[in-house]
């Protein structure tokens, strides 16, 4: 194994006393003050995450929109400049190569934010598809991941201070970040550089993701910590990021998603536009018509139990009906929760199931996503 890579914020994390783990080849903070403490900060006030490990691919050119419609399941051409959407890239068998966010940052330029562990695969695949798509090569795919860092600032208090980062209006449309609607992006000047700010996140809370050149990310992080200090901001690690996304039922590549599962099986049909042609469309069309044989569902334990974990078997009576893909003890619900692939015809909300944990079975129930909702 090569040594894990470090983000531009590594020293900052060290100074904050972070505990780091290897994640997709990166040495990332898993926690600072503690997963539960950071989780609560995000639900009740505000948390700041380093997400610099994620990949940034720029796709540009006169036919960029048309190309992305062909490469991805969602319809990038429908986005206005400054708008964003969740999307997936599939293989010919309809299996998920990656899940990603697509931002239209100019008429002919899209920014794709992809999973850290998938950057090389995504880049190779997109470049191969470009060659297949057209002979004149007017679509360019450029990997900016090594030059760009990113942070996510998430929680109900974020809108109180985030706009104070910038003194001038956005370059695309809005005056300040808080004027962005959900799934919108703009670029703002900070320390003389462009910072992309989008109203997106992976926590279920209001919040923003900021993408900036490596050289200014530390000062951007420090400024956010300073502005947020009166609003309960805490640095938050991948541990809290994971428990927060599980409460929302959001998938994580390598767990709910892989080349062996389709977006329809993952419950992401909303992000698959069957009205257009795209890679994997054939198999997904078949699945849509015939129905999928299994589906990813959220569940919650209904009695005291150890936390459910990835790989545990799901039962109904004597029948093995599925396998857990992610699980934890939910800090918000104070109960074991998770997601699992459930064989049909059992994948229905309200179905009573059992999770096998170290040879014993514990009762649980299939639930609607998200598992956690603000009261």
């Amino acid at each position: 194994m090569a040594d894990p890579r470090r983000t531009a914020l590594y020293e900052t994390h060290q100074a904050l006393g972070a505990r780091c783990i290897d994640f997709g080849g990166w040495e990332m903070p898993v926690q600072y003050s503690g997963i539960v403490d950071e989780h609560r900060a995000v639900r009740e006030a505000c948390g700041l995450f380093d997400i610099s490990h994620m990949g940034e691919l720029m796709v540009g050119g006169a036919r960029a929109a048309e190309f992305l419609d062909h490469a991805l399941t969602n319809t990038a051409s429908k986005l206005g400049v400054g708008d964003a959407q969740y999307s997936l890239m599939c293989n010919d068998r309809g299996g998920v190569l990656d899940d990603l966010y697509v931002y239209r940052i100019a008429k002919e330029v899209y920014l794709l934010v992809v999973n850290a562990s998938r950057i090389a695969e995504d880049l190779a695949e997109l470049q191969r598809l470009v060659a297949e798509f057209e002979s004149t090569r007017t679509v360019n795919v450029v990997d900016e991941s090594d030059n760009l860092s990113a942070v996510a600032v998430q929680g109900p208090h974020v809108n109180r201070f985030v706009s104070q980062l910038f003194t001038v209006s956005g370059l695309i449309a809005v005056e300040r970040p808080t004027a962005l609607e959900k799934n919108q992006i703009d670029a703002f000047i900070f320390e003389g550089k462009d910072v992309y700010v989008s109203r997106t996140g992976y926590t279920g809370e209001d919040g923003f993701e900021l993408i900036a050149p490596n050289e200014i990310i530390t000062i951007l992080w420090e400024r956010l910590m300073e502005l947020g200090s009166d609003h309960g901001i805490k640095p938050a690690g991948l541990g809290a990021r994971d428990t927060l996304r599980m409460e929302m039922g959001y998938p994580l590549y390598g767990h709910e998603l892989s080349e062996g599962v389709s977006p329809l099986e993952a419950g992401l049909g909303f992000f698959v536009d069957m009205e257009k042609s795209f890679r994997g469309r054939g198999e997904l069309g078949f699945q849509k018509k015939e129905g999928v044989t299994r589906r990813n569902m959220a569940f919650a334990m209904t009695a005291k139990s150890p936390p459910p974990r990835e790989g545990y078997t799901v039962w109904i009576g004597d029948e093995e009906i599925g396998v857990v893909t992610s699980g934890t003890q939910s800090p918000s619900l104070q109960a074991g929760i998770g997601m699992a692939y459930i064989n049909q015809p059992h994948a229905k909300r309200g179905t009573d199931i059992e999770i096998e944990i170290r040879g014993r079975r514990f009762p649980a129930e299939l639930r609607k996503k998200p598992l956690y909702q603000k009261t």
Binding site: I35, V36, G239, P306, P307, R358
Partner: protein, 128 residues
């Protein structure tokens, strides 16, 4: 720096042992609870079970991971800390007192040959 009381014995797998006459009280160290963080579930052996040194005898689960618990000394389980069933966070808050795991009845003189003293454990976890 974590707390490592001088009057206890320790194992490389982060259990502590306190000898009280013919009984050994067992728990996990302050360092272990800090590494695990946010303990949410503790599975303990049944009373009456006889354990050999190093035998797997329970599981400690944090939000993030499950860790196995090993018997640091041989004996028969006479009592478990059933308060941990409803309040596993006691292991984080008080690893050497309210957060104890179980008591073992020793058969004869305790064999502590495989254990570490406080200084040895501190060195083991890089805190000496």
């Amino acid at each position: 720096m974590s707390s490592i009381p001088d009057n206890l014995k320790y194992t490389a797998s982060h259990e502590w042992i306190r000898i009280e006459g013919d009984t050994a009280v067992v728990g996990i160290t302050d360092h272990a609870q800090a590494e695990l963080t946010d303990i949410v579930y503790v599975e303990l052996p049944e009373v009456g079970r006889t354990l050999a040194v190093g035998e797997g005898c329970g599981v400690v689960e944090s939000v993030k991971t499950a860790s196995d618990l090993y018997a640091p000394i041989a004996g028969e389980i006479t009592e478990i800390n059933s308060a941990l069933e409803d309040a596993p966070e006691q292991v984080n808050e008080s690893p050497y007192d309210e957060g104890w795991f179980f008591k073992l009845k020793l058969s004869g003189e305790p064999d502590l040959s495989g254990t570490l003293d406080a200084a040895g454990y501190a060195s083991q976890i890089g805190e000496s």
